[in-house]
Amino acid sequence: MLRLPPTRWTRPPSLDAAVAALGEPGARALAGGTDLVVALKNRTGRPQCLVSLADACPAGIDTGGGGWAIGAATTLWDLERWTAPPSVAAIPEAARSVAAPPIRSRATVGGNLCLDTRCVFYNQSAFWRSGRPPCRKAGGEVCHAVPGGDRCHAVFSADLPPALAAVGARVRVAGPDGERRKDVADLYTGQGLAPLALAAAEVVLSADVPALSGRSGSAFEKIRARRGLDFAAASAAVWVEAGDDGACRSARVVLGAVDSGPVRVARAEEALQGSLLEPEALETAADAARRAARPVKNADFTPAYRRKVVGVAVKRAASRAWQRAVGAREASS
């Protein structure tokens, strides 16, 4: 059996107690464990104490206050069953694309938002990795993906963050200095080595989704080897709003799995704005996405393939989002 290293474990009864426990040296937050337990088994993470957030973070979707506050402890199993309006349909779509049902039953929104970056040279057993010198992310000084490179290019491949960023969600974060809110996009540094812009002992409490225009739609598209279990080769989330003239009034386009953080592509958004999402506009947006992607040789697919299919993902997501926006506009008029 693949076993975890000896570790302490605690389940603080409240948020304050959890933040205090996470302030201890060697402490690490544990939610569903569907990524962290693998890391422990692979010995890529070696915390001295696991701090279960089960009683510290809210679970479920709170509809008070106009939009929706999705608690960090909400499971992806519950989130994929959310009958969301067209404007935020990308969120359950992204939840449904993560791993497989028996993983989504325990995987949480908080764990997905705080997922570590990944690399074929890093997410391996200790035995596998022992065949090469440790890379930067494993505490060494080399990179096996980009030899001679000066930084880590591990991939950010969590599926919810692009969808949440595309619909303009914010995250509520709590730590030793109290609570703060920031845009989902600002939760990420874009650095493979330390992808999260969180201070020590900070925890994500919820993803707060605003109520959006009834004439808007969103979608998430993920390209991968199999329709279950696999991380994205590339993904895209798109939100579009239809204007009075029937053309696209505003758009947000966010890519996943083609860099060390989610990538917002302003040029793709400009290509969609003012268009009817006709093939030429979609192609221009796809082209902008391909240019913005920065894949390197550290995933199951070649960088050229990932760059190519991120454009496909943008086109599919944009078309579906637009159908939803137009459908919603017709339903309301």
Binding site: R3, R11, W77, P101, I103
Partner: protein
């Protein structure tokens, strides 16, 4: 570092209550197989990618290899051993359907397949093929090619709905 303290774990497995003293690093799979002698759930990969360790935790399928036992305090766990009739040993209709529709070859994936299928049919008694494939998308089988497994779940659904007799 001080030695991690063991924790007292109260768990209901296949309807039986257990109080166990376990190290917090133990997974549910280790507890089932090594403490309780229930070897129906298998370790294929140990890292979430194959599904052979899948059991039902409070009715939902979950990877026992990724679940810390400490995190399922008070939960009710169903393993393949708990599915057949406890009194007369008769197979559960889903098990029977996997036998009759040839959904089993080497059998290594079967406990996870059957339990995942049970969770699906409990929530959605008449799933279409796409829904079955989606529900089983995390369960890897190296033998059957999946067609017979989908047939088995469809047969089980018809029998559970009373549309077809069990011979």
């Amino acid at each position: 570092m001080s030695t991690p303290r063991k924790i007292v774990l109260a768990l209901t497995v296949n309807g039986q209550d257990h109080d166990l003293l376990v190290e917090p690093r133990r997974t549910l799979l280790e507890v089932l197989r090594e403490e309780l002698g229930l070897t129906g759930a298998k370790e294929g990969c140990g890292t979430g990618g194959c599904g052979t360790c899948t059991v039902l935790i409070d009715g939902r399928p979950a990877r026992a290899c990724l679940t810390l036992a400490a995190d399922v305090q008070g939960a009710s766990v169903l393993t393949i051993e708990g599915l057949a009739d406890a009194l007369d040993g008769d197979l559960h209709p889903i098990q029977r359907a996997f036998v009759d529709a040839h959904g089993i070859q080497c059998g290594f994936c079967t406990p996870g397949m059957i339990l995942t299928a049970k969770a699906l049919l409990d929530e959605n008694p008449s799933p279409d093929e796409a829904e079955i494939r989606q529900a089983l998308s995390g369960q890897v089988c190296r033998c059957t090619g999946y067609a017979k497994i989908v047939d088995s779940v469809q047969l089980a659904a018809r029998r559970l709905a009373g549309e077809e007799e069990t011979p």
